[in-house]
Amino acid sequence: MEMKPLTRVILGLVCLLVAIWLVAPTLVVVPMSFNENKSLAFPPQGFSWQWYQNFATNPEWSTSFLNSLKVASLVAVLATVLGTLAAFGLDRMKARPANLLRMLMLTPMVVPGVVLAIGIYAVYLDAQLVGTLTGFVLAHTILALPFVLIAVSANLEVFDRRLETAAASLGAGALTTFRTVTLPLILPGILSGLLFAFATSFDEIVVSLFITNPYLKTLPVQIFSSITRDADPTVAAVGTILLCATTILIGGGMLLLGRERKGRL
Protein backbone atom coordinates (compact mmCIF):
# COMPACT_ATOMS: atom_id res chain seq x y z
CA MET A 1 0.00 0.00 0.00
CA GLU A 2 1.27 3.46 -0.89
CA MET A 3 1.61 5.86 2.05
CA LYS A 4 0.80 9.55 1.78
CA PRO A 5 3.89 11.78 2.28
CA LEU A 6 2.38 13.46 5.33
CA THR A 7 1.57 10.12 6.97
CA ARG A 8 5.13 9.04 6.41
CA VAL A 9 6.55 12.18 8.04
CA ILE A 10 4.30 11.84 11.08
CA LEU A 11 5.14 8.16 11.42
CA GLY A 12 8.85 8.96 11.24
CA LEU A 13 8.56 11.65 13.88
CA VAL A 14 6.66 9.38 16.27
CA CYS A 15 9.28 6.67 15.83
CA LEU A 16 12.06 9.14 16.51
CA LEU A 17 10.35 10.41 19.70
CA VAL A 18 9.84 6.89 21.00
CA ALA A 19 13.46 6.05 20.25
CA ILE A 20 14.72 9.13 22.08
CA TRP A 21 12.45 8.36 25.00
CA LEU A 22 13.82 4.82 25.21
CA VAL A 23 17.49 5.67 24.88
CA ALA A 24 17.72 9.07 26.62
CA PRO A 25 18.11 7.88 30.24
CA THR A 26 20.94 5.62 29.17
CA LEU A 27 22.68 8.32 27.20
CA VAL A 28 22.46 10.84 30.04
CA VAL A 29 24.87 8.62 31.96
CA VAL A 30 27.64 8.87 29.39
CA PRO A 31 28.32 12.67 29.59
CA MET A 32 27.92 12.61 33.37
CA SER A 33 30.82 10.19 33.66
CA PHE A 34 33.16 12.88 32.32
CA ASN A 35 32.05 15.48 34.88
CA GLU A 36 34.79 17.61 36.45
CA ASN A 37 32.96 18.13 39.73
CA LYS A 38 31.92 15.50 42.20
CA SER A 39 28.23 15.76 41.48
CA LEU A 40 25.64 13.95 39.43
CA ALA A 41 24.18 17.16 38.06
CA PHE A 42 23.07 17.26 34.47
CA PRO A 43 24.33 18.77 32.25
CA PRO A 44 27.86 18.10 33.53
CA GLN A 45 30.62 20.69 33.59
CA GLY A 46 34.10 20.40 32.12
CA PHE A 47 35.79 17.20 31.12
CA SER A 48 37.88 14.70 33.05
CA TRP A 49 38.80 11.01 33.17
CA GLN A 50 39.11 11.00 36.97
CA TRP A 51 36.03 8.86 37.65
CA TYR A 52 37.32 6.18 35.33
CA GLN A 53 40.62 6.37 37.18
CA ASN A 54 38.79 6.04 40.47
CA PHE A 55 36.99 2.96 39.20
CA ALA A 56 40.28 1.33 38.23
CA THR A 57 42.17 2.17 41.41
CA ASN A 58 39.63 2.20 44.22
CA PRO A 59 39.58 -1.37 45.64
CA GLU A 60 35.89 -1.09 46.55
CA TRP A 61 35.08 -0.75 42.86
CA SER A 62 37.61 -3.11 41.38
CA THR A 63 36.78 -5.90 43.86
CA SER A 64 33.10 -5.72 43.14
CA PHE A 65 33.83 -5.66 39.42
CA LEU A 66 35.95 -8.80 39.72
CA ASN A 67 33.25 -10.43 41.86
CA SER A 68 30.69 -9.75 39.17
CA LEU A 69 32.98 -11.17 36.49
CA LYS A 70 33.58 -14.29 38.56
CA VAL A 71 29.90 -14.86 39.33
CA ALA A 72 28.77 -14.13 35.78
CA SER A 73 31.37 -16.46 34.25
CA LEU A 74 30.42 -19.34 36.52
CA VAL A 75 26.72 -18.68 35.94
CA ALA A 76 27.25 -18.56 32.19
CA VAL A 77 28.92 -21.99 32.18
CA LEU A 78 26.52 -23.61 34.64
CA ALA A 79 23.35 -22.19 33.06
CA THR A 80 24.54 -23.08 29.55
CA VAL A 81 25.29 -26.70 30.43
CA LEU A 82 22.04 -27.16 32.36
CA GLY A 83 19.94 -25.17 29.90
CA THR A 84 21.31 -27.06 26.90
CA LEU A 85 20.68 -30.42 28.54
CA ALA A 86 17.16 -29.32 29.49
CA ALA A 87 16.45 -28.08 25.96
CA PHE A 88 17.61 -31.43 24.61
CA GLY A 89 15.53 -33.45 27.00
CA LEU A 90 12.43 -31.37 26.27
CA ASP A 91 13.01 -31.58 22.51
CA ARG A 92 13.01 -35.35 22.64
CA MET A 93 10.11 -35.78 25.04
CA LYS A 94 6.46 -36.21 24.25
CA ALA A 95 4.94 -32.82 23.47
CA ARG A 96 2.49 -32.51 26.33
CA PRO A 97 4.69 -33.15 29.38
CA ALA A 98 7.51 -31.28 27.63
CA ASN A 99 5.40 -28.14 27.30
CA LEU A 100 4.45 -28.29 30.97
CA LEU A 101 8.06 -28.71 32.06
CA ARG A 102 9.18 -25.96 29.72
CA MET A 103 6.67 -23.53 31.21
CA LEU A 104 7.87 -24.47 34.69
CA MET A 105 11.48 -23.80 33.75
CA LEU A 106 10.60 -20.43 32.25
CA THR A 107 8.79 -19.17 35.37
CA PRO A 108 11.86 -17.28 36.69
CA MET A 109 11.32 -14.93 33.73
CA VAL A 110 7.73 -14.17 34.70
CA VAL A 111 7.75 -14.29 38.49
CA PRO A 112 8.41 -10.80 39.94
CA GLY A 113 12.09 -10.54 40.86
CA VAL A 114 11.27 -9.34 44.39
CA VAL A 115 9.17 -12.40 45.12
CA LEU A 116 11.93 -14.65 43.89
CA ALA A 117 14.44 -12.65 45.94
CA ILE A 118 12.44 -13.04 49.14
CA GLY A 119 12.20 -16.78 48.59
CA ILE A 120 15.87 -17.16 47.87
CA TYR A 121 16.84 -14.98 50.83
CA ALA A 122 14.71 -17.03 53.22
CA VAL A 123 16.28 -20.27 52.05
CA TYR A 124 19.79 -18.82 52.03
CA LEU A 125 19.52 -17.62 55.65
CA ASP A 126 19.07 -21.20 56.81
CA ALA A 127 21.58 -22.63 54.39
CA GLN A 128 24.14 -19.92 55.27
CA LEU A 129 24.53 -18.99 51.61
CA VAL A 130 24.05 -15.22 52.05
CA GLY A 131 27.09 -13.33 50.81
CA THR A 132 28.78 -16.42 49.37
CA LEU A 133 29.98 -17.08 45.85
CA THR A 134 27.97 -20.31 45.73
CA GLY A 135 24.88 -18.41 46.78
CA PHE A 136 25.25 -15.82 44.03
CA VAL A 137 26.00 -18.40 41.35
CA LEU A 138 23.03 -20.59 42.26
CA ALA A 139 20.60 -17.68 42.45
CA HIS A 140 21.73 -16.14 39.19
CA THR A 141 21.69 -19.49 37.43
CA ILE A 142 17.99 -19.79 38.19
CA LEU A 143 17.47 -16.44 36.46
CA ALA A 144 19.80 -17.15 33.53
CA LEU A 145 18.64 -20.69 32.71
CA PRO A 146 15.45 -19.65 30.85
CA PHE A 147 17.50 -17.57 28.41
CA VAL A 148 19.70 -20.54 27.54
CA LEU A 149 16.67 -22.79 27.30
CA ILE A 150 14.95 -20.43 24.87
CA ALA A 151 18.02 -19.90 22.69
CA VAL A 152 18.94 -23.59 22.44
CA SER A 153 15.32 -24.69 21.97
CA ALA A 154 14.92 -22.27 19.08
CA ASN A 155 17.93 -23.86 17.43
CA LEU A 156 16.78 -27.41 18.10
CA GLU A 157 13.42 -26.61 16.59
CA VAL A 158 14.98 -25.91 13.20
CA PHE A 159 17.56 -28.67 13.56
CA ASP A 160 16.77 -31.46 11.10
CA ARG A 161 16.79 -34.64 13.16
CA ARG A 162 16.94 -36.69 9.98
CA LEU A 163 20.60 -35.67 9.83
CA GLU A 164 21.11 -37.83 12.91
CA THR A 165 19.52 -40.77 11.09
CA ALA A 166 21.83 -40.14 8.15
CA ALA A 167 24.86 -40.04 10.46
CA ALA A 168 23.80 -43.37 11.97
CA SER A 169 23.55 -44.93 8.51
CA LEU A 170 27.10 -43.78 7.83
CA GLY A 171 28.39 -45.51 10.94
CA ALA A 172 28.19 -42.89 13.70
CA GLY A 173 27.03 -43.95 17.18
CA ALA A 174 24.85 -41.67 19.30
CA LEU A 175 27.74 -39.80 20.97
CA THR A 176 29.73 -39.35 17.76
CA THR A 177 26.60 -38.11 16.03
CA PHE A 178 26.05 -35.55 18.78
CA ARG A 179 29.66 -34.38 18.68
CA THR A 180 30.07 -34.19 14.90
CA VAL A 181 26.59 -33.28 13.66
CA THR A 182 24.15 -32.04 16.30
CA LEU A 183 26.48 -29.93 18.44
CA PRO A 184 28.11 -27.95 15.59
CA LEU A 185 24.68 -27.18 14.16
CA ILE A 186 23.13 -25.90 17.41
CA LEU A 187 26.32 -24.18 18.58
CA PRO A 188 25.06 -20.69 17.64
CA GLY A 189 22.10 -21.22 19.98
CA ILE A 190 24.33 -22.45 22.78
CA LEU A 191 26.72 -19.52 22.37
CA SER A 192 23.98 -16.92 22.33
CA GLY A 193 22.50 -18.62 25.40
CA LEU A 194 25.91 -18.32 27.04
CA LEU A 195 26.08 -14.60 26.30
CA PHE A 196 22.57 -13.94 27.59
CA ALA A 197 23.30 -15.94 30.73
CA PHE A 198 26.47 -13.95 31.37
CA ALA A 199 24.70 -10.64 30.81
CA THR A 200 21.75 -11.66 32.98
CA SER A 201 24.02 -12.42 35.91
CA PHE A 202 26.33 -9.48 35.36
CA ASP A 203 23.66 -6.77 35.69
CA GLU A 204 21.33 -8.57 38.11
CA ILE A 205 20.42 -6.31 41.04
CA VAL A 206 17.17 -7.26 42.78
CA VAL A 207 18.11 -10.73 44.04
CA SER A 208 21.70 -9.62 44.53
CA LEU A 209 20.64 -6.85 46.94
CA PHE A 210 18.94 -9.44 49.14
CA ILE A 211 21.73 -12.00 49.27
CA THR A 212 24.68 -9.61 49.44
CA ASN A 213 26.71 -8.78 52.54
CA PRO A 214 29.73 -6.53 53.12
CA TYR A 215 32.11 -9.36 52.24
CA LEU A 216 30.72 -10.09 48.83
CA LYS A 217 29.29 -7.36 46.64
CA THR A 218 28.70 -7.52 42.94
CA LEU A 219 29.10 -4.45 40.76
CA PRO A 220 25.41 -3.50 40.52
CA VAL A 221 25.13 -3.77 44.31
CA GLN A 222 28.17 -1.54 44.70
CA ILE A 223 26.67 0.99 42.29
CA PHE A 224 23.43 1.01 44.20
CA SER A 225 25.03 1.43 47.61
CA SER A 226 27.39 4.10 46.28
CA ILE A 227 24.63 6.17 44.74
CA THR A 228 22.47 5.99 47.84
CA ARG A 229 25.44 7.09 49.97
CA ASP A 230 26.83 10.05 48.01
CA ALA A 231 26.81 11.61 44.56
CA ASP A 232 29.89 9.94 43.14
CA PRO A 233 30.21 10.22 39.34
CA THR A 234 32.21 6.98 39.40
CA VAL A 235 28.77 5.40 39.16
CA ALA A 236 28.30 7.08 35.81
CA ALA A 237 31.72 5.89 34.65
CA VAL A 238 30.89 2.32 35.65
CA GLY A 239 27.51 2.67 34.01
CA THR A 240 29.12 3.76 30.78
CA ILE A 241 31.53 0.84 30.84
CA LEU A 242 28.68 -1.57 31.55
CA LEU A 243 26.61 -0.04 28.78
CA CYS A 244 29.36 -0.66 26.26
CA ALA A 245 30.07 -4.17 27.52
CA THR A 246 26.45 -5.37 27.54
CA THR A 247 25.73 -3.77 24.19
CA ILE A 248 28.58 -5.76 22.69
CA LEU A 249 27.52 -8.97 24.44
CA ILE A 250 23.81 -8.82 23.69
CA GLY A 251 24.45 -7.49 20.20
CA GLY A 252 26.77 -10.43 19.61
CA GLY A 253 24.15 -12.85 20.91
CA MET A 254 21.44 -11.41 18.67
CA LEU A 255 23.78 -11.53 15.72
CA LEU A 256 24.49 -15.22 16.33
CA LEU A 257 20.79 -16.03 16.59
CA GLY A 258 19.92 -13.92 13.55
CA ARG A 259 22.63 -15.43 11.39
CA GLU A 260 21.46 -18.89 12.35
CA ARG A 261 17.88 -18.12 11.32
CA LYS A 262 18.97 -16.71 7.99
CA GLY A 263 21.31 -19.59 7.30
CA ARG A 264 18.44 -22.05 7.60
CA LEU A 265 16.12 -20.37 5.15
Binding site: L163, S169, T177
Partner: protein
Amino acid sequence: MNPRAENRGAAIDLDTVSKAYGSFKALDGVSLRIEPGEFMTLLGPSGSGKTTTLNVIAGFTDVTSGQLLVGGKSVVGVPAHKRNIGVVFQHYALFPHMTVGRNVAYPLTLRGIAQEERKKRVAKALDMVKMGDFAHRYPSELSGGQQQRVALARSIVFDPPLLLMDEPLGALDKKLREWLQLEIKRIHRELGTTFVYVTHDQEEALVLSDRIAVFNRGRIEQVGTGRQLYDQPATLFVGRFIGDSTVLRGEVKSDGTGTALTIAGETVSAPRRLAGEANAVMLLRPEKLVIRRPGRDAAGTNRLSGTIAEAIYLGSGSKYEVKLADGSTAIVRSPLAGESFSLGEKVELCFDGADAKLLPDDSTADTTLT
Protein backbone atom coordinates in the same frame (compact mmCIF):
# COMPACT_ATOMS: atom_id res chain seq x y z
CA MET B 1 37.52 -48.18 -11.62
CA ASN B 2 36.53 -51.57 -12.87
CA PRO B 3 33.78 -51.29 -15.45
CA ARG B 4 32.33 -54.72 -14.84
CA ALA B 5 32.55 -55.16 -11.12
CA GLU B 6 32.35 -58.64 -9.69
CA ASN B 7 29.33 -59.45 -7.64
CA ARG B 8 30.05 -57.73 -4.34
CA GLY B 9 26.54 -57.32 -3.03
CA ALA B 10 24.90 -58.82 0.01
CA ALA B 11 21.81 -60.97 -0.15
CA ILE B 12 18.81 -59.93 1.94
CA ASP B 13 16.26 -62.32 3.38
CA LEU B 14 13.10 -61.02 4.97
CA ASP B 15 11.19 -63.82 6.64
CA THR B 16 7.60 -63.04 7.70
CA VAL B 17 8.63 -59.63 8.99
CA SER B 18 5.91 -57.69 10.77
CA LYS B 19 5.87 -54.22 12.26
CA ALA B 20 2.95 -52.97 14.29
CA TYR B 21 2.30 -49.50 15.66
CA GLY B 22 -0.37 -50.18 18.24
CA SER B 23 -3.13 -51.90 16.33
CA PHE B 24 -1.93 -50.64 12.95
CA LYS B 25 0.13 -53.14 11.03
CA ALA B 26 2.65 -51.28 8.91
CA LEU B 27 4.14 -54.59 7.81
CA ASP B 28 2.09 -57.76 7.89
CA GLY B 29 4.23 -60.84 7.39
CA VAL B 30 6.50 -59.67 4.58
CA SER B 31 8.82 -62.30 3.09
CA LEU B 32 11.25 -61.39 0.36
CA ARG B 33 14.58 -62.67 -0.90
CA ILE B 34 16.85 -60.16 -2.62
CA GLU B 35 19.75 -61.69 -4.52
CA PRO B 36 23.32 -60.40 -4.21
CA GLY B 37 23.94 -57.57 -6.66
CA GLU B 38 20.29 -57.30 -7.60
CA PHE B 39 18.44 -54.03 -8.21
CA MET B 40 15.23 -54.52 -6.30
CA THR B 41 12.54 -51.88 -6.21
CA LEU B 42 9.91 -51.73 -3.51
CA LEU B 43 6.91 -50.18 -5.24
CA GLY B 44 3.60 -49.17 -3.76
CA PRO B 45 1.32 -46.29 -2.83
CA SER B 46 2.07 -44.26 0.30
CA GLY B 47 1.44 -46.16 3.50
CA SER B 48 1.82 -49.52 1.76
CA GLY B 49 4.84 -50.56 3.84
CA LYS B 50 7.63 -50.06 1.32
CA THR B 51 9.44 -47.38 3.32
CA THR B 52 8.91 -49.28 6.56
CA THR B 53 10.58 -52.28 4.91
CA LEU B 54 13.52 -50.10 3.92
CA ASN B 55 13.77 -48.65 7.44
CA VAL B 56 13.71 -52.16 8.88
CA ILE B 57 16.60 -53.23 6.63
CA ALA B 58 18.53 -50.03 7.47
CA GLY B 59 17.98 -50.54 11.19
CA PHE B 60 16.01 -47.31 11.73
CA THR B 61 12.94 -49.31 12.74
CA ASP B 62 12.76 -52.45 14.88
CA VAL B 63 10.70 -55.40 13.71
CA THR B 64 7.82 -56.58 15.85
CA SER B 65 8.33 -60.15 14.70
CA GLY B 66 10.08 -62.08 11.96
CA GLN B 67 13.64 -62.58 10.85
CA LEU B 68 15.94 -60.39 8.76
CA LEU B 69 19.22 -61.62 7.29
CA VAL B 70 21.73 -59.40 5.49
CA GLY B 71 24.53 -61.34 3.83
CA GLY B 72 23.30 -64.50 5.57
CA LYS B 73 23.56 -63.03 9.09
CA SER B 74 20.69 -62.00 11.28
CA VAL B 75 20.72 -58.25 11.92
CA VAL B 76 17.66 -58.11 14.15
CA GLY B 77 18.61 -55.91 17.11
CA VAL B 78 21.80 -54.63 15.48
CA PRO B 79 21.78 -50.80 15.63
CA ALA B 80 21.83 -48.88 12.34
CA HIS B 81 25.37 -47.54 12.77
CA LYS B 82 26.79 -51.04 13.01
CA ARG B 83 25.10 -52.46 9.89
CA ASN B 84 27.43 -50.97 7.27
CA ILE B 85 24.58 -50.25 4.87
CA GLY B 86 24.51 -47.17 2.65
CA VAL B 87 21.30 -45.12 2.69
CA VAL B 88 20.20 -42.33 0.34
CA PHE B 89 17.29 -40.24 1.57
CA GLN B 90 14.69 -38.28 -0.36
CA HIS B 91 15.71 -35.12 1.52
CA TYR B 92 19.45 -35.59 0.75
CA ALA B 93 20.41 -35.25 4.45
CA LEU B 94 23.78 -33.68 3.71
CA PHE B 95 25.48 -32.10 6.73
CA PRO B 96 25.09 -28.36 6.09
CA HIS B 97 28.15 -27.40 8.17
CA MET B 98 30.54 -29.54 6.14
CA THR B 99 31.82 -29.09 2.62
CA VAL B 100 30.95 -31.67 -0.02
CA GLY B 101 34.38 -33.23 0.45
CA ARG B 102 33.99 -33.52 4.22
CA ASN B 103 30.48 -34.91 3.85
CA VAL B 104 31.76 -37.70 1.64
CA ALA B 105 34.79 -38.28 3.87
CA TYR B 106 32.58 -38.56 6.97
CA PRO B 107 31.96 -42.34 6.89
CA LEU B 108 35.65 -42.92 6.13
CA THR B 109 36.78 -40.76 9.07
CA LEU B 110 34.48 -42.77 11.34
CA ARG B 111 36.12 -45.96 10.11
CA GLY B 112 39.57 -44.60 10.94
CA ILE B 113 40.83 -44.60 7.38
CA ALA B 114 44.09 -42.69 6.93
CA GLN B 115 44.01 -39.30 5.26
CA GLU B 116 45.86 -40.32 2.11
CA GLU B 117 43.53 -43.23 1.38
CA ARG B 118 40.54 -41.13 2.43
CA LYS B 119 41.34 -38.42 -0.11
CA LYS B 120 41.67 -40.99 -2.88
CA ARG B 121 38.37 -42.65 -2.11
CA VAL B 122 36.47 -39.38 -1.73
CA ALA B 123 37.78 -38.23 -5.12
CA LYS B 124 36.83 -41.55 -6.68
CA ALA B 125 33.31 -41.50 -5.26
CA LEU B 126 32.76 -37.88 -6.32
CA ASP B 127 34.03 -38.67 -9.81
CA MET B 128 31.63 -41.55 -10.04
CA VAL B 129 28.68 -39.19 -9.51
CA LYS B 130 30.33 -36.50 -11.65
CA MET B 131 30.74 -34.05 -8.78
CA GLY B 132 34.54 -34.08 -8.68
CA ASP B 133 34.81 -30.30 -9.07
CA PHE B 134 32.54 -29.51 -6.14
CA ALA B 135 34.50 -30.88 -3.18
CA HIS B 136 35.02 -27.42 -1.62
CA ARG B 137 31.45 -26.22 -1.97
CA TYR B 138 28.87 -26.30 0.78
CA PRO B 139 25.59 -28.21 0.26
CA SER B 140 23.59 -24.97 0.35
CA GLU B 141 25.45 -23.84 -2.78
CA LEU B 142 24.28 -26.85 -4.79
CA SER B 143 21.05 -27.63 -6.64
CA GLY B 144 18.81 -30.48 -5.50
CA GLY B 145 20.12 -32.86 -8.12
CA GLN B 146 23.72 -32.04 -7.25
CA GLN B 147 23.05 -32.52 -3.55
CA GLN B 148 21.51 -35.91 -4.19
CA ARG B 149 24.53 -36.96 -6.23
CA VAL B 150 26.79 -35.96 -3.33
CA ALA B 151 24.56 -37.92 -0.95
CA LEU B 152 24.89 -40.90 -3.26
CA ALA B 153 28.69 -40.55 -3.27
CA ARG B 154 28.67 -40.37 0.53
CA SER B 155 26.64 -43.56 0.80
CA ILE B 156 28.86 -45.61 -1.52
CA VAL B 157 32.29 -44.25 -0.52
CA PHE B 158 32.71 -46.82 2.27
CA ASP B 159 31.90 -49.72 -0.09
CA PRO B 160 28.78 -51.02 1.63
CA PRO B 161 27.57 -54.35 0.25
CA LEU B 162 24.06 -52.94 0.18
CA LEU B 163 22.65 -49.55 -0.79
CA LEU B 164 19.16 -48.45 0.22
CA MET B 165 17.46 -45.57 -1.56
CA ASP B 166 14.27 -44.01 -0.24
CA GLU B 167 12.55 -42.13 -3.07
CA PRO B 168 15.86 -40.39 -3.84
CA LEU B 169 14.50 -38.55 -6.87
CA GLY B 170 11.13 -37.65 -5.37
CA ALA B 171 11.97 -33.97 -4.90
CA LEU B 172 13.42 -33.40 -8.38
CA ASP B 173 11.79 -32.35 -11.62
CA LYS B 174 11.01 -34.83 -14.38
CA LYS B 175 13.92 -34.17 -16.75
CA LEU B 176 16.51 -34.36 -13.99
CA ARG B 177 14.82 -37.43 -12.57
CA GLU B 178 15.02 -39.30 -15.85
CA TRP B 179 18.69 -38.45 -16.28
CA LEU B 180 19.55 -39.45 -12.71
CA GLN B 181 17.69 -42.74 -13.14
CA LEU B 182 20.14 -43.67 -15.86
CA GLU B 183 23.03 -42.49 -13.69
CA ILE B 184 21.86 -44.69 -10.82
CA LYS B 185 21.56 -47.62 -13.22
CA ARG B 186 25.12 -47.04 -14.42
CA ILE B 187 26.47 -46.78 -10.88
CA HIS B 188 24.70 -49.99 -9.94
CA ARG B 189 26.35 -51.74 -12.87
CA GLU B 190 29.77 -50.37 -11.97
CA LEU B 191 29.56 -51.16 -8.26
CA GLY B 192 27.96 -54.57 -8.40
CA THR B 193 26.38 -54.08 -4.98
CA THR B 194 22.81 -54.84 -4.03
CA PHE B 195 20.46 -51.88 -4.48
CA VAL B 196 17.10 -51.63 -2.78
CA TYR B 197 15.08 -48.72 -4.13
CA VAL B 198 11.81 -47.40 -2.79
CA THR B 199 9.44 -45.47 -5.04
CA HIS B 200 5.76 -44.91 -5.67
CA ASP B 201 6.45 -44.17 -9.33
CA GLN B 202 5.85 -47.32 -11.40
CA GLU B 203 7.61 -45.90 -14.48
CA GLU B 204 10.73 -45.28 -12.41
CA ALA B 205 10.50 -48.82 -11.08
CA LEU B 206 10.26 -50.22 -14.62
CA VAL B 207 13.27 -48.19 -15.81
CA LEU B 208 15.56 -49.13 -12.95
CA SER B 209 14.84 -52.54 -11.56
CA ASP B 210 15.88 -56.11 -12.10
CA ARG B 211 12.84 -57.07 -10.08
CA ILE B 212 10.01 -55.16 -8.44
CA ALA B 213 8.12 -56.02 -5.25
CA VAL B 214 4.67 -54.47 -5.28
CA PHE B 215 3.47 -53.48 -1.81
CA ASN B 216 -0.09 -52.89 -0.70
CA ARG B 217 -1.42 -52.52 2.82
CA GLY B 218 1.67 -53.85 4.55
CA ARG B 219 1.96 -56.91 2.33
CA ILE B 220 3.75 -57.84 -0.86
CA GLU B 221 1.24 -58.50 -3.63
CA GLN B 222 3.71 -59.78 -6.21
CA VAL B 223 7.42 -59.92 -6.92
CA GLY B 224 8.75 -60.14 -10.45
CA THR B 225 10.41 -58.40 -13.36
CA GLY B 226 8.64 -55.44 -14.86
CA ARG B 227 7.53 -57.54 -17.80
CA GLN B 228 6.12 -60.25 -15.55
CA LEU B 229 4.16 -57.70 -13.52
CA TYR B 230 2.79 -56.04 -16.65
CA ASP B 231 1.96 -59.19 -18.57
CA GLN B 232 1.07 -61.53 -15.75
CA PRO B 233 -0.29 -59.51 -12.82
CA ALA B 234 -1.18 -61.83 -9.97
CA THR B 235 -3.77 -59.51 -8.49
CA LEU B 236 -6.06 -56.77 -9.66
CA PHE B 237 -4.05 -54.30 -7.56
CA VAL B 238 -0.80 -55.12 -9.36
CA GLY B 239 -2.53 -54.99 -12.73
CA ARG B 240 -3.88 -51.56 -12.00
CA PHE B 241 -0.75 -50.18 -10.34
CA ILE B 242 1.66 -51.17 -13.11
CA GLY B 243 0.81 -49.43 -16.37
CA ASP B 244 -2.57 -48.31 -17.67
CA SER B 245 -5.37 -50.79 -17.65
CA THR B 246 -9.06 -51.25 -18.30
CA VAL B 247 -10.99 -53.31 -15.78
CA LEU B 248 -14.22 -54.93 -16.97
CA ARG B 249 -16.72 -55.97 -14.33
CA GLY B 250 -20.04 -57.64 -15.06
CA GLU B 251 -22.20 -60.66 -14.62
CA VAL B 252 -19.87 -63.67 -14.72
CA LYS B 253 -20.75 -67.00 -16.29
CA SER B 254 -18.08 -69.63 -16.60
CA ASP B 255 -18.20 -73.11 -18.07
CA GLY B 256 -15.51 -75.73 -18.50
CA THR B 257 -13.40 -73.83 -21.00
CA GLY B 258 -14.13 -70.14 -20.74
CA THR B 259 -15.60 -67.20 -18.94
CA ALA B 260 -18.27 -64.87 -20.24
CA LEU B 261 -18.87 -61.41 -18.83
CA THR B 262 -22.06 -59.48 -19.46
CA ILE B 263 -21.66 -55.72 -19.10
CA ALA B 264 -24.80 -53.66 -19.56
CA GLY B 265 -26.23 -56.04 -22.09
CA GLU B 266 -23.08 -56.72 -24.05
CA THR B 267 -21.26 -59.99 -23.55
CA VAL B 268 -17.55 -60.60 -23.94
CA SER B 269 -15.68 -63.80 -23.33
CA ALA B 270 -12.25 -65.15 -22.66
CA PRO B 271 -11.07 -68.72 -23.25
CA ARG B 272 -10.00 -69.22 -19.65
CA ARG B 273 -11.56 -69.59 -16.26
CA LEU B 274 -10.61 -68.56 -12.80
CA ALA B 275 -9.90 -71.20 -10.20
CA GLY B 276 -11.72 -70.75 -6.92
CA GLU B 277 -14.85 -68.98 -5.87
CA ALA B 278 -13.91 -65.34 -6.35
CA ASN B 279 -15.79 -63.17 -8.79
CA ALA B 280 -13.73 -62.69 -11.96
CA VAL B 281 -12.90 -59.38 -13.60
CA MET B 282 -11.12 -58.88 -16.92
CA LEU B 283 -8.06 -56.68 -17.14
CA LEU B 284 -6.94 -55.34 -20.53
CA ARG B 285 -3.82 -53.38 -21.41
CA PRO B 286 -4.39 -50.28 -23.61
CA GLU B 287 -2.50 -51.71 -26.59
CA LYS B 288 -4.65 -54.85 -26.62
CA LEU B 289 -7.80 -52.85 -27.29
CA VAL B 290 -8.65 -51.74 -30.79
CA ILE B 291 -10.81 -48.65 -31.18
CA ARG B 292 -12.97 -48.08 -34.25
CA ARG B 293 -16.19 -46.61 -35.52
CA PRO B 294 -19.23 -48.85 -34.88
CA GLY B 295 -21.26 -50.84 -37.35
CA ARG B 296 -18.55 -52.64 -39.18
CA ASP B 297 -18.47 -56.38 -39.21
CA ALA B 298 -16.05 -58.06 -36.82
CA ALA B 299 -17.00 -61.63 -36.26
CA GLY B 300 -15.18 -63.67 -33.67
CA THR B 301 -13.86 -60.85 -31.52
CA ASN B 302 -15.29 -59.26 -28.40
CA ARG B 303 -17.02 -55.93 -28.84
CA LEU B 304 -18.05 -53.21 -26.41
CA SER B 305 -19.64 -49.89 -27.30
CA GLY B 306 -18.81 -46.58 -25.71
CA THR B 307 -18.22 -42.88 -26.21
CA ILE B 308 -14.95 -40.95 -26.27
CA ALA B 309 -14.61 -39.11 -22.95
CA GLU B 310 -11.07 -37.85 -23.36
CA ALA B 311 -8.64 -37.72 -26.27
CA ILE B 312 -4.97 -37.17 -25.48
CA TYR B 313 -2.38 -36.59 -28.16
CA LEU B 314 0.91 -38.22 -27.08
CA GLY B 315 3.15 -37.51 -30.06
CA SER B 316 3.88 -41.15 -30.73
CA GLY B 317 0.16 -41.87 -30.90
CA SER B 318 -3.06 -41.07 -29.11
CA LYS B 319 -4.60 -42.17 -25.87
CA TYR B 320 -8.36 -42.28 -25.48
CA GLU B 321 -10.55 -42.65 -22.47
CA VAL B 322 -13.75 -44.34 -23.50
CA LYS B 323 -16.87 -44.35 -21.37
CA LEU B 324 -18.52 -47.76 -21.53
CA ALA B 325 -22.22 -48.51 -21.29
CA ASP B 326 -21.98 -49.38 -17.58
CA GLY B 327 -20.30 -46.07 -16.79
CA SER B 328 -16.78 -47.42 -16.31
CA THR B 329 -13.81 -46.06 -18.23
CA ALA B 330 -11.61 -47.93 -20.69
CA ILE B 331 -8.15 -46.74 -21.70
CA VAL B 332 -7.03 -47.30 -25.28
CA ARG B 333 -3.81 -46.40 -27.01
CA SER B 334 -3.81 -46.17 -30.76
CA PRO B 335 -0.88 -45.65 -33.11
CA LEU B 336 -0.43 -42.41 -35.02
CA ALA B 337 -1.29 -44.07 -38.32
CA GLY B 338 -4.74 -45.09 -37.11
CA GLU B 339 -7.98 -43.17 -37.36
CA SER B 340 -8.50 -40.29 -34.97
CA PHE B 341 -11.62 -39.74 -32.93
CA SER B 342 -13.15 -36.71 -31.31
CA LEU B 343 -14.81 -36.13 -27.98
CA GLY B 344 -18.31 -37.53 -27.66
CA GLU B 345 -18.01 -39.79 -30.67
CA LYS B 346 -19.63 -43.22 -30.44
CA VAL B 347 -17.02 -45.96 -30.85
CA GLU B 348 -16.55 -49.67 -30.50
CA LEU B 349 -13.78 -51.40 -28.60
CA CYS B 350 -12.64 -54.80 -29.79
CA PHE B 351 -10.26 -57.25 -28.25
CA ASP B 352 -9.12 -60.81 -28.49
CA GLY B 353 -10.42 -62.83 -25.55
CA ALA B 354 -6.99 -64.43 -25.18
CA ASP B 355 -5.49 -61.04 -24.31
CA ALA B 356 -7.81 -60.49 -21.37
CA LYS B 357 -6.37 -61.34 -17.94
CA LEU B 358 -8.85 -62.93 -15.60
CA LEU B 359 -8.27 -61.81 -12.04
CA PRO B 360 -10.22 -62.22 -8.82
CA ASP B 361 -12.16 -59.06 -8.04
CA ASP B 362 -10.79 -56.97 -5.20
CA SER B 363 -12.77 -53.90 -4.26
CA THR B 364 -9.88 -52.61 -2.11
CA ALA B 365 -7.67 -52.30 -5.18
CA ASP B 366 -9.60 -49.21 -6.24
CA THR B 367 -9.61 -47.44 -2.89
CA THR B 368 -5.91 -47.85 -2.15
CA LEU B 369 -4.93 -46.56 -5.56
CA THR B 370 -6.56 -43.19 -5.29
